[in-house]
Symmetry: C2
Subunit: 193 residues, 2 copies
DNA sequence: CGCTATCTGGAACGATCGTCAAAGTATCGC
DNA sequence: GCGATACTTTGACGATCGTTCCAGATAGCG
């Protein structure tokens, strides 16, 4: 019928993600995105419609790549304390992983885009809620087994843990000190005692 | 000698702060700042040199207005638990205070500007460090008096509390639910037990 | 009351913004 | 191999960006 698309859509979104993470939404120009993806601006507009459209695609990929595995890990059926610690350590690793200063797209979007674009706000709420819910199920079960404190509701504990994860992202952006962030995470985990 | 400056510099910085808080750095144009301050662009450039210069002035005012009083409160000599709770409640109030969606300049700057402008990064580190230090002094004293746990060092506890405050800012931007944020803050405070 | 130094607002600068139309190119069914 | 179709590239669009400059306004000094 016609000419087939030559580039990999997912790879383009992937490349765009790095740019948005390091420069933010407003700080990123379509020319930046053209260079990073290797596509002409026409191709980008054909595939995503607009800069906003590409940003939303990036946000969805980010959620799929980082949030979903986290939820899966929490629902893997392993020991509650162990998997939660793993999630925290994984987050610290992600923050201090390389020197490329790629800040968290979720936190960045919360600050820069949530108040401007309702579709971004919806995605952010959905992401944090699914994370909170996975934590809730895990914590409620652990409470029944007497493995963690029952002084606080599983709902509050889950929300607190997500809050701590977001806080680590911010602190990591200010000072990417892996050892310090790890210790802060350890303190957060003591709230389960 | 000559004509005197007609406008109040601090008032201009104040007005500019609201714009930066609601639109971010890149999302704010000089025209936005002109309208908000009521100044011509010439006056702004004469007073601050550049958009960056005005942003730094805004950041300094923000630190002076929010961080400094917080540190003063922590050093007021009152009961550790009480003042720390007061700081957390004050932060939640600030987040959910009005419907104007003014996000925290510190967190916003961490995400959007810290990696681009070294002067911003320095100010952010200085602000969090002075906050951590005030908390450290307060917590170390409380530990000596046996008022809080000694399972964790005062350094780690202080860093954790600042992390939690930053996390509350992010969560508040995603979902400004005062009751929920308050409960998350309460959980964070249980780490002192 | 001029003179002059400084401040003020706004016009105008080149550069870059997000967007899109048009031309060129490659692929498929026939 | 040819027409039809869809993708890619290019460059230019008007708007807006941060910045600068300039003419007019205003205050203190002699």
């Amino acid at each position: 019928m016609a000419r087939t698309r030559e580039f990999d859509l997912d790879a383009a979104v992937d490349a765009a993600m790095d740019v948005f993470r390091s420069k933010g939404y407003e700080g990123t120009s379509m020319r930046d995105l053209s260079e990073a993806t290797g596509l002409g601006s026409g191709s980008i507009y054909a595939a995503f419609g607009s800069k906003d459209g590409l940003y939303l695609a990036v946000l969805d990929l980010y959620r799929q790549r980082y949030a979903t595995p986290m939820v899966d890990l929490l629902r893997s059926g392993n020991d509650a304390r162990a998997v939660i610690r793993e999630v925290f350590i994984g987050t610290v690793d992600d923050i201090t992983g390389d020197g490329r200063h790629l800040s968290c797209l979720i936190v960045g979007a919360s600050m820069e885009r949530a108040h401007q674009d309702v579709r971004v706000a919806e995605r952010l709420r959905s992401t944090t809620q699914s994370l909170e819910l996975a934590l809730y199920d895990l914590l409620a079960e652990a409470q029944l087994r007497g493995q963690i404190t029952t002084d606080r509701s599983a709902t509050d504990l889950a929300g607190f843990l997500v809050t701590s994860l977001q806080g680590l992202r911010v602190m990591g952006a200010i000072n990417p000190d892996r050892a310090a962030l790890t210790r802060y995470a350890e303190v957060a985990l003591t709230c389960l005692d």
